[in-house]
């Protein structure tokens, strides 16, 4: 396809049914436009009808500057390399915005998050209960500018969350969490079961809500990178990179070629170590401990390589706005090359062991099915989406770092079961190895970073990275004194939790751990 075929937004503009004002291309990755409040529902419907996907909705408190709130709608389209960011204005004396969650279930939680954090009412939301602040919290809106970050709230005395009752003969509830049996993060699962099969699952998240988006507003940009790395520990480098990309775009600087390539290597290493760990964990959850032992051994060797290349097993403390903090010497690159060679052989052996077990396949196949139409409606991204026919990958659709310099394939399956989610990971590990090999052959000497000027206030930009889990978005507005006015983070887990609810229905309770593991969502990334 030619470059022009990746610019479909310009055509859609005229046929989406509403007038989008101040339409302009802000930079290589972003078109910005304004819509009036009454037009919002038609705008969203029109764009979706034309094949767009609503990736994210978020709000911003601008009462100090212009006495209003802004809500942003981020769209993407398979045939455009850019994102479309449509902005609408909510007057502060009438804090209501039209909900589109009934038509676009993908934004259900995101709209409720705006209600909880900003006190803007999502008019017409089918289930407007609290999600991001628990029910027992007082009536506060922490992301409003007049709410001080270090407020100490009194002990919570509000009502606890009321779950949908489980009624009927022989039907009962299994409440699980927030402290789980394994070494995992906290969340509450409320199963309604009839015998072994699960009738439905109710989720309560946001147990690890630690005010990260508000915390970003306190830190200067160079320190905020470390906060970005702590959004979700297993995606430290992806979140760090997404944040740095947003800063770099706001500053309108290009990072050096070598830095782009080095970032690509590290992004893929993060994908490999997590995917390998997950493949082992999925096998382990159906009782195949030997496979897990080999997988975690391989994962350890990749973590050791991470440490050689970045100083940290989780790839922390190397990405910075403008590139990377440290360059690699020849010894490090050679070590990476050697280590990859042995990892490749280890991975062949690992998959031979996993594939040799029929009983493992039997447990994974047709378990935890997420149907492609549901995946599309719920806006499922990343591994979970690609196992259910959602052919999306930001590396290919919105290339960043050095992904336009390498060739790779995006694995997509239609069946949507645990086995296919594992297959997607297996295929992606192969593609990642392929990408790193290509990068290492073209990795030429050069600068590893450029300096980033202190940004003036009110620079706005979007950073997008396909983390190993899926689509990560960071949207920033700079403030005075080199600080941030707002940083919106969208982790792929926020999109994908509803997929778990769909996938477990009708499955037996003992299969829940493996279904949950096959999505392996981040609680901290969701809760922030």
């Amino acid at each position: 396809m030619t470059q022009s075929s990746f610019r479909i937004f310009d055509q859609i503009r005229d046929c989406c049914g509403v007038a989008l004002e101040r339409w302009h291309q802000a930079n290589d990755v972003e078109i910005r436009a304004d819509a009036t409040l009454p037009d919002v529902r038609d705008m969203v419907a029109g764009l979706i009808l034309n094949g767009c996907r609503l990736a994210s909705i978020f709000a911003e408190d601008r009462t100090a500057a212009s006495d209003d709130f802004l809500i942003y709608y981020v769209f993407d389209h398979m045939q455009d390399r850019r994102f479309l960011v449509v902005r609408t204005t909510i007057p502060s004396d009438m804090p209501v915005f039209p909900s589109v969650a009934a038509e676009v279930p993908a934004v259900n939680w995101q709209e409720r998050e705006i209600q909880d954090w900003f006190g803007l009412v999502a008019d017409g939301h089918p289930n407007p209960r609290r999600v991001a602040l628990h029910d027992n919290w007082p009536d506060i809106h922490p992301l409003r500018k007049d709410f001080p970050f270090d407020t100490v709230l009194p002990p919570f005395e509000g009502e606890q969350h009321v779950y949908r009752p489980t009624l009927g003969e022989g039907v009962f509830q299994i409440p699980v969490g927030p402290v789980h049996a394994g070494i995992i993060e906290p969340g509450h699962f409320n199963f309604a079961v009839a015998g072994e099969p699960i009738l439905y699952l109710q989720l309560r998240m946001f147990f690890t809500h630690k005010g990260i988006e508000k915390r970003f507003e306190q830190l200067p940009v160079n320190r905020a990178v470390y906060l970005a790395e702590s959004i979700s520990g297993d995606s430290s480098f992806s979140h760090g990179t997404a944040f740095c990309q947003a800063i770099e775009r706001a500053a309108q600087i290009e990072i050096p070629v070598r830095a782009r390539r080095m970032r690509t290597v590290l992004l893929e290493l993060e994908r490999i170590y997590n995917h390998v760990g997950d493949i082992g964990a999925i096998a382990n959850d159906v009782g195949f401990a030997v496979a897990n032992a080999h997988a975690s051994r391989l994962r350890e060797s990749i973590l050791a390589m991470n440490e050689e290349l970045s100083g940290s097993r989780l790839l922390r403390g190397i990405v910075c706005p403008g590139g990377l903090r440290h360059d690699w010497n020849d010894r490090q690159v050679e070590c990476c090359r050697e280590s990859l060679k042995s990892s490749e052989q280890e991975f062949v052996d690992l998959m031979q062991i996993v594939d040799s077990s029929d009983s493992t396949r039997d447990r994974l196949e047709r378990t935890g099915i997420l149907h492609p139409d549901k995946a599309r409606d719920l806006g499922i991204v990343g591994v979970g989406g690609r196992a259910s026919g959602v052919d999306r990958d930001l590396r290919r659709d919105h290339p960043y770092a050095a992904y336009d310099e390498v060739s790779f394939e995006v694995p997509v399956y239609q069946e949507g079961d645990v086995l296919r989610r594992m297959r997607v990971r297996v295929d992606e590990v192969w593609q990642s190895l392929r990408i790193i090999k290509q990068i290492l052959t073209i990795l030429e000497p050069g600068p590893n970073r450029v300096s980033v000027p202190v940004l003036p206030a009110d620079c706005v930009a979007l950073g997008a990275v396909e983390g190993w889990r899926g689509e990560i978005l960071h949207w920033i507005r700079t403030g005075a004194n080199g600080r941030l006015e707002r940083c919106k983070i969208k982790d792929p887990s926020l999109n994908n939790w509803p997929a778990l609810v769909e996938a477990v229905q009708g499955n037996i309770v003992p299969d829940f751990p493996v279904i949950n593991k096959s999505f392996n969502l981040s609680y901290s990334g969701t809760d922030r």
Partner: protein
């Protein structure tokens, strides 16, 4: 089945020798920063660069106090990069676990020169600044009993009280064949009612405060609490805010603190064994010594 046996025969012993043998750590690992307080002439660049406020300088009446908190440090190395005098160096030391929160904090005092730099070092002290409150840890007497009762076999319940999941990944790694915690008689259990030790990561969020307290109460005595990572010790980069209460010791008494972001599996092993009295405390505020420096 054939592949499994073939691979088992090909794979040699992968389990590390630590703690019985020295740890093999990759060359580029970023461990604890160390400070040459005697020659340090300007703490401002390092304090300015520190993302979590682990290095703080306060000037008053011609005196400067520089506080370094290893329980807040995320081991990013920015301080050594910002300070070009060579007084701040990154080491590969990871055995930083300490029994007292105050053992992770150093304060150095200098006179301030007219140009804002520091004069001759007046003194260095270790310990928590007065006024900070914390719940009482176990007494010395109980600690020696712990070694007797729990020292040889230990059941751990891991509690994520709000972490970013980085610490969980490293704690999970303790179960893999490389670190193989069970060779030391230690294993993870599914319920606090089966546990002798709570391994808690943080920062403790408002939403997990009650769950942590209930888990602590459900654990039978004698019990040990270990706070893991910068956030578990102090709230870390998240600090204390409307949604978090900070370190684990604001909610339950803590016996051992394991610094790191996240602490590498070796460091976790050291901290757990320190809590059992099976290993010694190696560092006091990053200084590898057995005696506390005095003012």
């Amino acid at each position: 089945m054939f592949h499994i046996f073939k691979k088992a025969a090909q794979t040699h012993l992968v389990t590390i020798g630590y703690p019985h043998a020295p740890a093999q750590i990759p060359e580029n690992f970023r461990g604890a920063p160390v400070f040459d307080f005697a020659t340090w002439r300007d703490a401002r660049p390092a304090a300015e660069a520190c993302p979590t406020g682990a290095i703080v300088k306060g000037d008053s009446a011609g005196r400067r106090r520089v506080t370094v908190d290893y329980g807040l440090c995320i081991y990013c190395g920015q301080c050594a990069e910002a300070d070009d005098s060579g007084a701040v160096k990154i080491t590969r030391n990871f055995e930083l676990a300490a029994r007292e929160r105050g053992d992770l904090i150093l304060t150095a005092e200098y006179p301030v020169e007219p140009d804002g730099s520091q004069g001759e070092l007046i003194g260095v002290a270790c310990g928590r600044p007065s006024g900070a409150e914390m719940l009482e840890p176990l007494t010395q007497k109980v600690q020696s009993r712990i070694h007797e009762v729990l020292g040889r076999s230990l059941a751990i319940r891991e509690v994520d009280a709000g972490s970013c999941n980085g610490c969980e990944m490293e704690i999970g790694a303790l179960n893999n064949p490389v670190y193989d915690l069970e060779r030391l008689g230690i294993h993870f259990v599914a319920s606090p009612r089966h546990a002798d030790m709570l391994l808690v990561t943080g920062p403790v969020t408002r939403n997990m405060e009650l769950a942590l307290l209930k888990t602590y109460r459900a654990t039978p005595a004698p019990k040990i609490v270990v706070a893991v990572g910068a956030c578990g010790i102090s709230g870390g980069i998240f600090g204390m805010n409307y949604a978090t209460v900070g370190g684990v010791d604001t909610v339950v008494p803590v016996d051992v603190f394991i610094p790191g972001c996240p602490p590498r599996p070796h460091a976790l092993l050291h901290g757990i064994l320190l809590a059992l009295g099976r290993m010694e405390q190696r560092a006091i505020a990053g200084i590898m010594s057995s005696s506390k420096p005095s003012l």
